[in-house]
C-alpha cells in the first residue's frame, strides 16, 4: 500500500517539478547542523515505519530538529521546494500515520522531550511534543496529580502524537480523550510560521481550532508545544477482574454496568486468546480458561468506591460472571492493568505479526459484532484476539498473521476491512482512537460519502494549500476511492452479505 501512496505522490511531484533530493539536502544542510539531517539509506532505514510495521517506505530525508526554529527552517525549505513533510513522534502509532514518503522529508520530533513547566496553581503542564505520555504523570505524581488520557502505549508514545491522533486510553469513558485534556498548542504551519491554538483560558474567541487540530493526524500543522490539563489523582481506585464463560454475557454486562448509573474509570474486555497471551508475559493472574474477562475500575473517595464496587459486583453476578476478583491494593490493581496495557505487543509471543483494528460501535451491538468477527475469522482462516475498551464500545480486534508467508498480509488486510465494514454496519466508525493513517484510508471511502470527503479536503486546503503536510493519510482522494471501488454504505449494503449478522 505504501508503494501505491508514494507512487501517487511521486507522480504528482514529478509533474509539479518538485525539488530533487540533492537540491533539498543542500538547502537543509546549509541551514541546519549536518548531524540532524539524515540522507543515507543505512541511517534512514530505521525510520521506514512506525508501530504498524506492515507498511514501510524509506523517507528521502529525515531531519531530527531540537529547536522550534529548526522546525520552522525545515518547513520553510520544504514549502519553498514543494516537498511533503511527515511529522513523527515516538513512532508507536498503529495506523501508519507516520509512514514516510519516498519523496518526502520525515520530521522527527523525538528530541523535543522536555517538560517545560508544571503550573500547580492552574493544574497544567507545558510539554514538548516528544515527551512520553507516562512521563507527564510521573513528573507530577509527587504533587498528587496526573495526566488522564492513557493509551496502552503510554510508556512510550509521545504527547505530540497523542494530540495528532486524539488518543484515548482505558480511562477515557470517564476522563475524556486527548481533546478534552489539552488547553493550548503551539504549532508551526506548513509555511513555517508559529501559531498559538487555544489559550490559557478555558475557551478562545473565534472557532475552536483546538478541536479541529486534535486528531488531524499531522495534516494541518506541526505541533511543537502542548499545554495539558492535570487532574488530582483519585483518593482510591479499585479494579474488578470479572470472568465469563460466555461472550454474549460479557457483552451484556458492559451495557448493564452503564445502565446502573455507574461511569467506570475504565471498562475493558479481553477475550480468550488475548487472556492467554498476556498472562504468559505479565502473570497478572488472569483466568486462562475464561471465554472473556472484564476489567472494571471505579475511582473516587473510599466510600464512593465501596458503593460503586458493590453495585458493579451485583450487576456482574446478575450478568452471569463466573468469577469476580476485586483488587485489594494498588499493587494488585497495577498488576490487573499490566496485562491489559501489554496486551497488543504480547501478541508477539503467540504470532509473528498482528494487525490491530480500532472500530467503535454502540455498546448494545458488542455481542453481535464480536460474534460477527469470530465468523469472519473462520471465513478468512485467520486467528483473531480481542482486547478493547468495552465501556466506549471501542474494539481492538488483533488479527494474527505471519508476514513472512506470502499472501497473508493481503488476506489480513481484507479481513481488517471486513471488520471495519461490520462496525459501520452496526452504526459505528472505522477508528475510535488510532486514527486513519494509511491503514484505514480505503475504509474512509466506505464511511464517508463524496461530499463529506470533499469538505475534508477543503478544510485541509485552508491550512495547507499545496497538500504538503502528511499527504495521502487520513482522508482519501476521491480518485483513490474510485480505484478502491468502495461505496459509502447505504442501508447496510455491504460486501460479504453471507457473513453479516443482524
Amino acid at each position: 500500500m505504501s508503494d501505491v501512496i508514494s507512487g501517487e505522490r511521486a507522480a504528482a511531484l514529478d509533474a509539479d517539478g518538485a525539488a530533487s533530493k540533492a537540491t533539498l539536502v543542500a538547502a537543509l544542510t546549509a541551514a541546519l547542523p549536518h548531524d540532524i539531517v539524515l540522507t543515507d539509506e543505512e541511517s534512514l532505514r530505521p525510520f521506514e515505519c512506525d508501530g504498524l510495521s506492515a507498511y514501510r517506505a524509506l523517507p528521502m530525508i529525515a531531519v531530527l530538529p531540537a529547536t522550534v526554529a529548526q522546525v520552522q527552517t525545515v518547513m520553510r525549505i520544504c514549502h519553498a521546494h514543494d516537498t511533503p513533510v511527515v511529522a513523527r513522534g515516538a513512532g508507536t502509532g498503529l495506523s501508519g500515520g507516520a509512514l514516510p514518503l519516498e519523496k518526502g522529508v520525515l520530521l522527527s520530533l523525538a528530541k523535543f522531550n522536555r517538560i517545560v513547566d508544571i503550573d500547580t496553581d492552574n493544574l497544567r503542564a507545558t510539554v514538548q511534543p516528544g515527551v512520553r505520555n507516562l512521563a507527564i504523570s510521573e513528573a507530577v505524581d509527587h504533587l498528587g496529580l496526573y495526566y488522564a488520557p492513557d493509551p496502552s502505549s503510554q510508556i512510550a508514545c509521545s504527547i505530540g502524537g497523542n494530540v495528532a491522533e486524539n488518543s484515548g486510553g482505558v480511562h477515557c469513558l470517564k476522563y475524556g480523550l486527548t481533546t478534552h485534556n489539552i488547553v493550548r498548542l503551539e504549532i508551526v504551519t506548513v509555511e513555517g510560521e508559529r501559531l498559538t491554538i487555544g489559550s490559557d483560558a478555558l475557551d478562545t474567541p473565534g472557532y475552536d481550532l483546538l478541536a479541529l487540530m486534535t486528531g488531524s493526524e499531522g495534516l494541518l500543522g506541526v505541533i511543537v508545544e502542548i499545554v495539558v490539563k492535570l487532574l488530582p489523582k483519585p483518593e482510591l481506585a479499585r479494579v474488578a477482574l470479572i470472568a465469563f464463560d460466555d461472550l454474549r454475557a460479557a457483552g451484556n454486562a458492559v451495557a448493564d454496568i452503564i445502565k446502573a448509573g455507574i461511569i467506570p474509570a475504565g471498562l475493558e474486555m479481553l477475550d480468550s486468546p488475548a487472556i492467554v497471551a498476556t498472562e504468559a508475559f505479565v502473570h497478572a493472574g488472569y483466568p486462562t480458561d475464561a471465554t472473556a474477562i472484564l476489567l472494571c475500575e471505579v475511582d473516587g473517595t473510599t466510600a464512593e468506591v465501596d458503593e460503586d464496587m458493590a453495585r458493579v459486583q451485583a450487576v456482574a453476578e446478575a450478568s452471569g460472571a463466573t468469577e469476580i476478583r476485586v483488587s485489594r491494593d494498588d499493587a494488585e490493581r497495577a498488576l490487573f492493568w499490566a496485562g491489559r496495557k501489554a496486551a497488543f505487543p504480547a501478541m508477539g509471543r503467540i504470532s509473528p505479526d498482528y494487525y490491530c483494528m480500532d472500530g467503535t460501535i454502540p455498546r448494545a451491538a458488542l455481542s453481535d459484532v464480536l460474534i460477527g468477527i469470530a465468523e469472519l475469522s473462520e471465513h478468512y482462516g485467520q486467528r483473531v484476539a480481542n482486547v478493547f475498551h468495552a465501556g466506549d464500545g471501542n474494539l481492538h480486534p488483533l488479527i494474527l498473521y505471519d508476514a513472512n508467508q506470502p499472501g497473508e498480509l493481503e488476506r489480513t488486510e481484507a479481513f481488517g476491512g471486513a471488520i471495519c465494514e461490520l462496525c459501520l454496519k452496526h452504526g459505528g466508525t472505522i477508528t475510535g482512537e488510532h486514527g486513519v493513517g494509511v491503514e484505514k484510508i480505503d475504509q474512509m471511502c466506505v464511511q464517508f460519502p463524496t461530499a463529506e470527503l470533499q469538505q475534508f479536503h477543503a478544510v485541509k486546503a485552508a491550512f495547507d494549500e499545496k497538500t504538503l503536510l502528511n499527504p495521502g493519510k487520513a482522508v482519501p482522494t476521491l480518485h483513490r476511492c474510485a480505484e478502491f471501488g468502495a461505496m459509502h454504505v447505504h442501508n447496510g449494503a455491504l460486501p460479504f452479505p453471507e457473513l453479516e449478522r443482524l
Binding site: T120, D121, N122, L145, N166, G168, G176, L177, T179, H180, R184, L195, S199, D200, A201, L202, D203, P205, G206, Y207, D208, A211, S216, P232, K233, E235, A255, I258, G261, I263, G300, T301, A303, E304, E307, D308, T360, P362, R363, A364, D392, N394, I430, T431, G432, E433, G435, V436, K440, M444, Q447, F448, E452, Q455, F456, A458, V459, K460, F463, V475
Partner: protein, 359 residues
Amino acid sequence: MSTTRQPSEDRTEAIAAQVEDAYQRAAPLRIVAGQSKSFLGEPVAEAATETLAVHAHSGVVSYDPGELIITARAGTPLRDIEAVLAENHQRLAFEPPHYGPTATLGGTIATGVSGPARPYAGAARDFVLGCRIVNGRGQVLRFGGEVMKNVAGYDLSRLMAGAHGTLGVLLEISLKVLPSPRAQLTQVFEHEAPEALAAFSAWAARPWPISGAYWEAGRTHLRLSGAQASVDAARDALGGEPLDEDQSFWSGLREHERDFFKRGDMPLWRISCAPASPMAKLSGTWSLDWGGAQRWLVSDAPAETVREAAATHGGHATLYRGHDKPRQHPLSAAHVAVHRRLKAAMDPAGILNPGRIGV
C-alpha cells in the same frame, strides 16, 4: 418546566434547499431559531436580509440511556431535551444556560455556551459526538457519529460548537449525556476575591467532587455533586456554611438572573482566563465563576483597558452588555487569516450568518 413538547418534524430538505438556493444567488442568510442567544457574538451583517428559520426542525431522533447518547434536531427546545433526560436520571453535564424559555439545542451548541459546571464536567464542545449540518453550498453532511470515540476524519462536529452557524447550519446533534449526580449540596465561605482564588486553586488540586465554584460580594459558593458518601465527606473536610436554596442559586447564576448581572447600565464584561490568574486592576464590580476561569466585570473602564488586562494572563474579554464593538476579543492577524480560509472552505459564498464571528 412545561410538559408539552414541541412536535417532531424533519425539515432537512427545506433547509438544505433554502441554503442551496441562497448559495446560487450568493444571498446571505440570517439563521434564526429561539433567539434566546442572539445577544451573543457579533451582530449578523445587515446585508443578510433573508432569514433561515430552523426552529421547526425539531424532535429527539434517538436516545438510548444505556448508550449515554442523545441525538436531536437543532430546533428541539433545550427544555424538552432536559426533560427527556431527566426521566432517565440523566442530564447534559455542561449545564447549558438557556437565557430564555425559547432556547434550542442548535442555538446552545452554535453559541457553545456552558454553565457553572464547565471547568469540572467539560464544555458544550466536549460533549458533541457528531452532527449533521448543511454547509454553505447547501450540502447535507454528517460528521462524527453516535459512538463515544471517533477519529475518522477531521473533528468538524466539535468545530461547529461556538461557530455561531457560520460554518454550517446545524441540523442534528449527537451529545454524550451522563447520569445525574445522586447527591448535591452547596457550602458558603466568607472570602475576599484573592482568598477565593487561592481556595479555588487549592480545592481543584484535590480529588473533591466539585461541580461549581463561584465568588461574588465576599462570599464563595462551592457546589459538591456525586455519590452521597463522597459529597458528605467533602463537606465535612472543607467546612463552610450550608446553602439551603442551592438549586435556585446555581440556576440563577447560570441564567444570569442574579442581581449582579441585571443591575445598572454599566457594561458587563466576561473575562475568560487561566483560573489562578491574579485579580486584574480594573475599576468596577467583579464576580468569579468557573473556579476563577470565567470572571464577570461590571465596569465602565474603556474596552481597550479591559481587553489588555484580560490578555495579560492569556485570556480574552467579551462584552455581554453594552454598546462597544466588537463584542468578541479581536483575533490576531494570523488567526483572522485562518478563520477566513476556514469559513471559505465551509461556506465559499459567505452566506451563513456573515459577520457573526467577527472576521
